[in-house]
Symmetry: C2
Subunit: 480 residues, 2 copies
């Protein structure tokens, strides 16, 4: 029940999408006609129509009446420009928390339009089934099993997690999986397992603010590495850093990076793992978005290429199945015992009821069906919101093109200040995640992360339009 | 529904128990006859019989046929002897974890007799009711409420916790309560909120090994303070330490201390809080056992006397209602915002399902009824196990006399090595918690913490007898 179903039309759509992204098919190009493609590939017309519909949904092509499908012209953020994006390689003691709390504290209000939120819409998740699974599992267990919470986590859940690794072709040892209080705890424990106060940790640029907060809390120093908005960390830049100084660990998100949405290709992931192995540097891999792929297959984690046990792979069900249940895990390779001990020392064990609910849900089947539904919904929302952003934001705005997840990273024209936009929007109960949250030295002043994980309701539409208007007003003011 | 019910016989029993403990009534003394007491106090014979039965249950008195009730002769550990117990005031960098993991790792096996465990028997807790409460609460909530897990915790649960503080006469501000992943996380977050690496923290002597582990993890230094086995930390010794050096915090367990079971009297708690306020030192108060009192009233926490917001009060439902649910909290006074931020940085928020299950259970009522049942069971087990220990352990063994909780701390005759006993017992699938776990410098080599939280089954009886036999063999060997 866990195998990925690859239909023909998905294969075809993925292939064409890759050609568009690589530039082999360029904006304005006409896609092959149904007749040609049918002859070339031996697929049925319905397969071709489905594939084209999928590409249209992804915003990659558009249908023109009586002319066929064409590759869309897009605002295409292929590369962050040197003026704002290149990290300086300087070691920065981190002090981001105040800013994060100040900016995000007010965004948790349910009346606020959640464009700055880090979670997709709650309606996308099967809470009723989970509650039923939980109740069923709790009834079946005796007191001793419920109270005897093991530090490493419930055995049935760990077995299910291990099974999914295996089905995705990622080798893990059963005993290296430690269940945690969401991926956040997994990442924090892994970071602590491989560092001492004062150590240097390499992070992406831009990077997820929670990584910066974790570094700050553990008295670590951040060094940011240049990160391609489409393909993730630049390995040459990383190697230069590794040569330059002693690095205790890397904390990267190679799949659908937050905030860029970048997806590191498999071959590059393998090269990354090999590079770090040469320097003996552990990789903390934050992989919470991988299940939310728009393509046909779940991207492999860097962990898949790890032969030294140096990759500490962290993930959770919070983004894919059960937000609020806070069930995450680390598959921590050679550091598994250390992570388990730190878990025991900091929170003893994770609560049993949410673990049982999820384990039971996984055993019953339905997770993959749910995921297909979730991915479809996210992709639809993504496309609709992007189209609106392209229409409403000022000329010169560029954005990333994630192939999964629910974030998009915008770069606004020079001189626009997204922190100012954030405050103006909050005054109208619309949250955003301004770029300054995503680096230790507050470099991304004209960047913005938007959450596209919510159905594009009239309220969301109005909010996106308002952001566009605010940005235009600033761009206009600066142009004068 | 939360008010403490103080019956007449409980009042009378408490009063007599206090006289016995203070020495006003001494071993061998006859208790007043029913007729005398009835005349003196105007209480009914049945009240007196109930009170005497209660004292008998507590192991404080014994009935002699046709003679009445007499104060029992007991092995009475009033004070840890200077040779082994007095802490040296030396600052110790902590490195206890290896030992803890080595000794306790193997004790979690369900086939092991759990005398070294830190939890009482699972059958004592209402897991079925909790699961029903959880299912009910989950059905009632919408997705947004389930997924919108707030860092500080579910509002309904925080309100219930606040209500219990109020009913116990402890003033708290609603917004200072942060729900955590068990008390363990609360304690760790509080410790981190008030310290920097390298700081000195005062702990009890002996102290709970988890406190030592937390200090170790945060690169803190421990200084142990002399602790009376009946009444907790000696304030003169504490003041001497405070005068001597800069102290960042104290981490104490003033009510039913682990491992001693010591209960600091109210007046002393007040004096402790005042002393620390004079030095501006925060008190992290670990208060997880308070609900497990054998006397009629829940002992007040030190927090009750805090006027400066310097007491960070940590507790949980893990020992009183729902082990395995991992629902704890901190009422962190002036540090509440810092603790909330650290919680957000380390685990974002606590899982919603266990919080809802407990909140719903508390709203429905039944917690106090469960607590009365639990306290009765623990007291019965305590008495039965103590009686057996007195009978089976070598001459010269002394033990503490906790008035609540489920631990007892034994001091064995000189030369007996409890670590050796631990290993011998583990070979027979019996766990213990040897004294070396309870100080940074492994001082308590002839001490032993035993868990009396399990029904005294034939298996437990046999295990206690075996421990006594092993101890006798060692004592005998040393005497030769």
């Amino acid at each position: 029940m866990f195998a990925v179903r690859l239909t023909r039309y998905q294969q075809l759509a993925d292939e064409l999408a890759a050609s568009i992204r690589s530039g082999a098919l360029r904006p304005g190009d006409r896609l092959p006609s149904v007749r040609d493609l049918r002859r070339q590939r031996g697929v049925s017309p319905s397969t071709i129509f489905q594939a084209y519909a999928q590409l249209e949904l992804q915003g990659l092509v558009e249908a023109r009446v009586r002319s066929g499908y064409f590759v869309r012209a897009r605002h295409h953020l292929t590369r962050l420009p040197p003026d704002a994006a290149l990290p300086n390689g300087r070691i920065t003691p981190v002090a981001i928390s105040e800013l994060v709390f100040e900016l995000l504290g007010s965004t948790r209000d349910v009346d606020v339009v959640p464009l700055g939120s880090a979670f997709p819409a709650a309606q996308l998740f099967p809470f009723e089934e989970l509650a039923r699974s939980g109740a069923r599992a709790m009834r079946r267990l005796g007191p001793a099993q419920i109270s005897g919470a093991l530090t490493a986590g419930d055995e049935s859940l760990r077995a299910q997690i291990g099974r999914r690794y295996a089905l995705n072709g990622v080798p893990t040892r059963g005993d290296e999986i430690i269940v945690t209080n969401g991926a956040m705890e997994a990442l924090n424990l892994c970071l602590q397992a491989v560092t001492q106060p004062g150590d240097v940790v390499v992070v992406e640029s831009p990077t997820f603010y929670a990584a910066l907060q974790a570094l700050e809390r553990l008295h670590l120093k951040a060094v940011e590495v240049e990160t391609d908005p489409a393909e993730g960390v630049r390995l040459e830049a990383l190697e230069a850093l590794l040569k330059q100084q002693k690095v205790a660990a890397c904390w990267f998100m190679p799949t659908f990076q937050n905030p860029l949405g970048a997806l590191m290709p498999n071959a590059k992931k393998q090269a990354l793992v090999q590079l770090l192995a040469r320097y003996g540097v552990p990789l903390i891999e934050d992989d919470v978005y991988a299940e939310l792929h728009f393509g046909a297959r779940r991207p492999l984690p860097a962990k898949a290429f790890d032969q030294e046990g140096l990759v500490l792979h962290c993930s959770s069900f919070s983004k894919s199945l059960a937000p609020g249940y806070r069930v995450g895990w680390a598959a921590a390779g050679r550091y598994a015992k250390d992570v388990e001990r730190l878990k025991m020392m900091t929170s003893l064990a994770s609560p049993i009821p949410p673990q049982l609910a999820i384990a039971e849900y996984l055993v019953q089947g339905g997770f993959d069906r749910h995921l297909r539904h979730l991915r479809g919904a996210l992709q639809t929302q993504h496309t609709a919101a992007r189209t609106l952003i392209e229409r409403c934001f000022p000329k010169g705005t560029r954005m990333t093109e994630p192939q999964g997840g629910y974030f998009v990273w915008l770069e606004l024209p020079g001189g626009v200040n997204t922190l100012e936009i954030h405050h103006q929007a909050m005054a109208q109960s619309i949250s955003t995640a301004p770029g300054v949250l995503f680096s230790a030295d507050r470099r991304f002043t004209r960047h913005l992360r938007l959450n596209l994980g919510h159905p594009v309701t009239p309220q969301i539409k109005a909010a996106l339009k308002l952001l566009g208007t605010l940005a235009k007003a600033q761009a206009h003011r600066n142009a004068q």
